[in-house]
């Protein structure tokens, strides 16, 4: 959990992920051959494979988190904002927020709280006495997010934000640490701007042109209170994606991961996410296409301040990813 906690506490709203990238680059340096960044800010860590004619395997987890961008300051000194990504407004209302430079504030709905949720009804109060004072400390285009935190509930359960998707980044970092022999040419790509339309992964996968791709992200679960029916539960293992609302995953690769999990006795479940997309789609359609799927961590209350996960699922994703990296994908049948 240490790696995950460290990553979660770094500020990185979509479009402003460089702090997260710095942290991950520091963690990955001992385990890979090269680290580069592209124009969109994607962090691409490359590890040469030991197999002859090694296949290109691209792993992608997004560094960005949802948040807010300053659009202006009103006469009383309250900050007007626009949303970056799909904000959970019920959760955001009356939360503490943090700007990139560390400045604190609270985000509140204007007037009485009613069911009229949109960013135009929300302002940030930084405790300034006047418009002038606010303008000295905040500029149009500054980024903010609700304050990150991690709580241990009990047993295997943890709550906090943003598990989406620092947990995906953490899985990749841990897999790089734990793999014994990397058979495939592995590209650990930490992507940007997923929450605003999978933008980083589009350019990164164009550059990498992978043979196989695996995204890492959170997914929903069917075991929350009155949750929409979904055959995914916390604690039942790594969720191997079959389909979401952006992609139908490669049947052969899904089967391969499912069988690999059985062979290594790693708990796994199959996932269909009915609302929500991932970086998987960009990687599948890059160039002449790649065999793509994703490993997801079942999560309750996604995009809220208290996303909840099971450590068991997180560990299962790491184990399955390390096992995948150790398999020569050029020699497998799909």
């Amino acid at each position: 959990m240490k790696i995950l906690k460290e990553l979660m506490l770094v500020h990185g709203v979509s479009g402003r992920e460089s702090r997260v990238a710095d942290k991950i680059a520091e963690m990955m340096t001992p385990y890979v051959d090269s680290i580069t960044r592209d124009a969109l800010g994607n962090l691409i860590c490359y590890k040469k494979g030991s197999a002859k004619n090694a296949k290109k395997l691209m792993l992608a987890g997004h560094m960005d988190e949802i948040g807010f961008i300053v659009t202006g300051v009103d006469d009383k000194g309250y900050i007007r904002v626009s949303s970056i990504g799909g904000i959970h407004y019920v959760s955001a209302a009356y939360s503490a927020v943090r700007f990139e430079n560390g400045l604190r504030g609270v985000i509140v709905p204007e007037g009485d709280f009613n069911n009229n949720f949109s960013s135009s009804k929300f302002v940030i109060d930084i405790g300034a006495k006047s418009k002038k004072e606010t303008e000295r400390r905040v500029k149009v285009g500054d980024f903010a997010s609700t304050v990150s935190h991690v709580e241990h509930l009990s047993g295997e359960y943890w709550a906090g934000r943003p598990f989406d998707d620092r947990i995906g980044c953490a899985i990749m970092v841990r897999a790089a640490m734990e793999m014994k022999d990397c058979k495939n040419d592995a590209y650990f790509v930490f992507t940007t701007q997923e929450e605003v339309g999978c933008r980083g992964s589009k350019t990164a996968s164009f550059a990498v042109a992978p043979d196989f791709s695996l995204a890492f992200d959170v997914t929903g679960s069917g075991d929350g209170p009155k949750a929409s029916p979904m055959a995914v539960s916390l604690g039942k293992g790594a969720a191997i994606k079959v389909k979401d609302s952006s992609v139908i995953c490669d049947g052969g690769f899904v089967r391969f991961l499912d069988e690999l999990a059985k062979e290594k006795k790693i708990p796994a479940q199959l996932e269909i996410l009915e609302g929500g997309g991932t970086d998987t789609c960009s990687m599948q359609t890059a160039g002449c296409g790649s065999r793509a799927t994703a490993l997801s961590v079942p999560t309750r209350y996604i995009h809220s301040n208290n996303e909840t996960i099971s450590k068991k699922d997180y560990d299962a994703c790491v184990a399955l990813t390390a096992a995948l990296l150790e398999r020569d994908l050029g020699k497998e049948r799909f």
């Binding site: 929409s228 029916p229 979904m230 055959a231 079959v242 389909k243 952006s246 992609v247 139908i248 995953c249 490669d250 049947g251 052969g252 899904v254 479940q269 199959l270 996932e271 269909i272 009915e274 789609c281 599948q284 359609t285 160039g287 002449c288 296409g289 790649s290």
Partner: protein
């Protein structure tokens, strides 16, 4: 070549959206004899090439999508009922009281069931999650048969002939257009050409479109003819939304299609007396042609429509003569553009 028989054989191979690979071998076996080369490419696409034998010859790509609409298993309930979600977007009116096939380790027959309307008085369209597939098997038997989250499900594939040379059945969309492409290649069999003709059966047109751009990237064509079914008029529809049945293929005028190609197609149809009609889809063709402007720096693309009634149901209906004329138009264009001894290309 018995075109209707090939269409039947092609329709009998399940190639559900995103699961085209399951039928790939059968389709390759079926169509390879008519081409010089066949292979897989991109995300689950199949490429069939008729070569002209000349080096660095231009390539014209005929695209018809291989994938079909269906359902996908989202959960196995304790009583053996299966919950499903959509794979593509079937006409919701066909979702209940229908026969389906669950494609597990072996194919299982299933019927779709809902609470009796006599009790609920519910007259609304069914929603995913509120109807189930019933196979008569227990949860254990289903698991043993290989039914899992993500198992694809398809509609009944039976077909019949109606009056006036019309045929109905599921999955005319878009396998009839694959046959139209085949007809074109058959008609060009003995013609000297200055180009390679590639018939691409692309994946995922009905869902996320992953096939067309990746398959086309493997070909790098000079021109593309996207062939897809077009909404045919029925007594209750408006002429401006539909094309006429039995009056030949449509050629789509849209910002997404190439002016010259579109004009040439309509002119050649007139000159060769092949029945054809114009369809207007100003903004989007709603077909694979929509992603062409962004493909490989832009490839001139036309969109040809085969009129089809009752689209996305199990009784999709077409005229045999429309199918033949679609093939004829494609062949006539290719011969005009890339015919031996020059062609319009020089």
């Amino acid at each position: 070549m018995d075109y209707m028989k090939i269409l039947d054989e092609l329709r009998s191979v399940p190639t559900l959206s995103g699961f085209e690979d399951r039928g790939a071998e059968d389709v390759l076996k079926l169509l390879s004899p008519y081409f010089d080369e066949s292979r897989r490419a991109g995300v689950n696409c199949l490429l069939f090439t008729k070569k002209c034998g000349k080096e660095n010859a231009p390539k014209i790509l005929i695209d018809a999508h291989l994938d079909e609409l269906g359902l996908i298993v989202t959960d196995l309930k304790d009583d053996g009922l299966l919950t499903v979600s959509s794979l593509g977007g079937m006409d919701k009116r066909t979702l209940t009281a229908s026969v389906f096939t669950v494609h597990a380790a072996k194919d299982l027959r299933a019927v779709s069931v809902k609470k009796p309307y006599l009790i609920t008085k519910d007259k609304k369209l069914p929603k995913y999650g509120e109807f189930w597939l019933f196979t008569g098997l227990s949860k254990t038997e289903l698991t043993d048969a290989g039914v899992r989250v993500g198992t694809p499900v398809s509609c009944q594939r039976s077909t019949e002939k109606l009056g006036e040379g019309q045929y109905y059945g599921a999955y005319m969309d878009d396998k009839s257009c694959a046959v139209a492409g085949l007809i074109a290649v058959d008609l060009l069999r003995d013609k000297p050409l200055e180009c390679d003709v590639v018939l691409m059966l692309s994946s995922q047109e009905e869902s996320f479109g992953a096939g067309f751009p990746t398959g086309a990237a493997a070909v790098c064509p000079d021109e593309i003819l996207v062939v897809d079914v077009d909404l045919g008029s029925t007594p209750e529809t408006d002429d401006k939304d539909t094309v006429k049945m039995g009056e030949g293929p449509s050629v789509t005028v849209s910002v997404q299609t190439d002016r010259r190609l579109t004009k040439d197609l309509l002119r050649i149809a007139r000159e060769k007396e092949i029945p054809a009609q114009t369809a207007l889809c100003v903004k989007s063709t709603g077909t694979n042609a929509s992603s062409s402007p962004f493909l490989l720096g832009g490839v001139p693309t036309a969109c040809i429509g085969l009129p089809l009634k009752y689209m996305h149901t199990t009784v999709e209906t077409l005229y045999e003569k429309d199918l033949i004329n679609t093939g004829k138009l494609i062949a006539a264009y290719i011969e005009y553009r890339f015919g031996g001894k020059g062609g319009a290309q020089q």
